[in-house]
Subunit: 374 residues, 2 copies
Amino acid sequence: MATPFEFEITARDPRTQARTGRLHTPHGVIETPAFMPVGTQGSVKALSQEDLRVIGAQIVLANAYHLYLRPGTAVLEQAGGLHPFMHWERPLLTDSGGFQVFSLSGLTKVSRDGVTFQSHLDGSRHTFTPERSVDIQRSIGADIIMCFDECTRYPVTHAEAARSMRMTMQWAERCNRHWRDTDDGRQALFGIVQGGVYSDLRKESAESLTAIGFPGYAIGGVSVGESKTEMRDAVAAATPHLPEDRPRYLMGVGPPDDFLDAVAMGVDMFDCVMPTRNARNGALFTSEGRINIKNQRFATDFGPLDPRCACPVCKVYSRAYLSHLYRAGEIAALRFNTLHNLFFMLDLAASAQKAIGAGRFDAFRQEILNQAAV
Amino acid sequence: MATPFEFEITARDPRTQARTGRLHTPHGVIETPAFMPVGTQGSVKALSQEDLRVIGAQIVLANAYHLYLRPGTAVLEQAGGLHPFMHWERPLLTDSGGFQVFSLSGLTKVSRDGVTFQSHLDGSRHTFTPERSVDIQRSIGADIIMCFDECTRYPVTHAEAARSMRMTMQWAERCNRHWRDTDDGRQALFGIVQGGVYSDLRKESAESLTAIGFPGYAIGGVSVGESKTEMRDAVAAATPHLPEDRPRYLMGVGPPDDFLDAVAMGVDMFDCVMPTRNARNGALFTSEGRINIKNQRFATDFGPLDPRCACPVCKVYSRAYLSHLYRAGEIAALRFNTLHNLFFMLDLAASAQKAIGAGRFDAFRQEILNQAAV
């Protein structure tokens, strides 16, 4: 029997740092590398939880900022947590709300103690401290919870990135202490590496977190405007200084090429709104590259969206029908497109696992990148 | 083996004119009384065809006006018709577009020959004649197609209602002739009784159509502003003058009380956007009456939407979760609410069939009306 939040590394690719693993949680095992669909408000946009099961989602990500504001922690506590509230029995992860208080709310005021912000819903004032963020995430009850962090602006000077990262490291220490003080073995707290585009700061941040000690480590602040090269540099600067035997989670990164490159650098977990947001804009992944279903050339294309795809949409509906639904503004188009794009990412992660297991991840990555022009 | 479009009357209620029947079509049997979900553009809003199968939809209604404008008859012909285009193997019915050219399009010009109108999508000019409407409905390929009719305004004088109805009767004759000339046994044409709120005109219209002879008869123009009493009067004026042995379809009528009253008057088929439109506005049918899921009192109500409902939503999600999804603007709310309301109507129709079969429809109707305050 695995201990809670044990991370077994089950295979390593001989040519890259890619690895497969099994992260144990109270709601089941997450096979890595894993792509985590984003269900910010307790719902992956346009999908049901049954849809998520059908396409093989192992874990869903929700957000402490959004759920704190609506429906609120009192409702979630009464429901027995987000799992029963949304009727999802597999693992959940919540982001701490650090990113959202900076990106969504108005009139943010930051101090050493925490952040005071205005709700993007009704303008009401609220304060998150590291301890409060952990408490909120306790009420939500996700299997994996995240440290409260300051989202460093981009672009940013070295001095400002250093100040911000060091404050986040102090907050990480407070989150960790509060998490340990309230630990019941059902929720694992992950630390978040910050430091912007500065490799020395990424290294310092990774070392600080490792010294504190977490069940898992995330790399944050890499989806706020950086180039793909800067994202890769940030990952490369952090991972060598994170414990080998703990899961690594790259926050907010999702395009297939970035996913594959980060897996090659030893990253285990990913989330991104891009596959779902793109889907709602008609931009769909296929094995022949990205297409936009709105395009007039699909109006009389009666073949499947992607002949190599086994998703519930490609098995049934044609490009012509999906194109019609999208252009006609039908709500069903949003669900079908989302099902397809998420299946694509989940299938990519599953295929990456197989390739790593077979010792041929590097070749697999090249095949995908050549084939798809993603 | 039943002949195409045979209508078997299988039971009659002893106290009302309610009856159950089986309408045979090339895509299967429709058990009546039947509620037909509306999929105007080839999609029941927010649902998949799999959803429709799961909740027991027997037939879906689409619209010739919308499908003619988008995706167009050329696309539908290439697809082999709407059935394969939308991947729906059960019966379909198309409305002729008569109602829509008057209610949706701009600058309508009516002559004895037909109607010239502007597309509500791009302002382009088009002409529908009775023959053209049949041709368009041939391209779409629904099992049941409708005569092209003028939608009589409401309120309207007797003289104007008479003029409009008599023109529609001439168009019905032309539709019938063109349908017979092009008949391949795969599509049945229904006539539409008009005449506004005037019982003498409803009688005259029903007699005119019966003299022409159709596989089925609809009662139209009763959902354009009439009161419930006027709707009932129009049905009562028409049905005695329609053939007993053919199906009767009341167009655009859907609230549960109107449905039950019309069944009692011998109506067999119904369609209405109200259950699906209400669903998207959060107004949901329950066995305890209509509720609005937005209401704050549902925020902490962790019971099912309707404890007596067996729909896929009530079996899984709570009022609190559905209320949260709706208030949070989640797309999934539209699908869940639609699934529930349509299931309610389909289940009501199925229960009405059972009650008629058991000779207790009148008692059943009173139970539902007392219980639900619908």
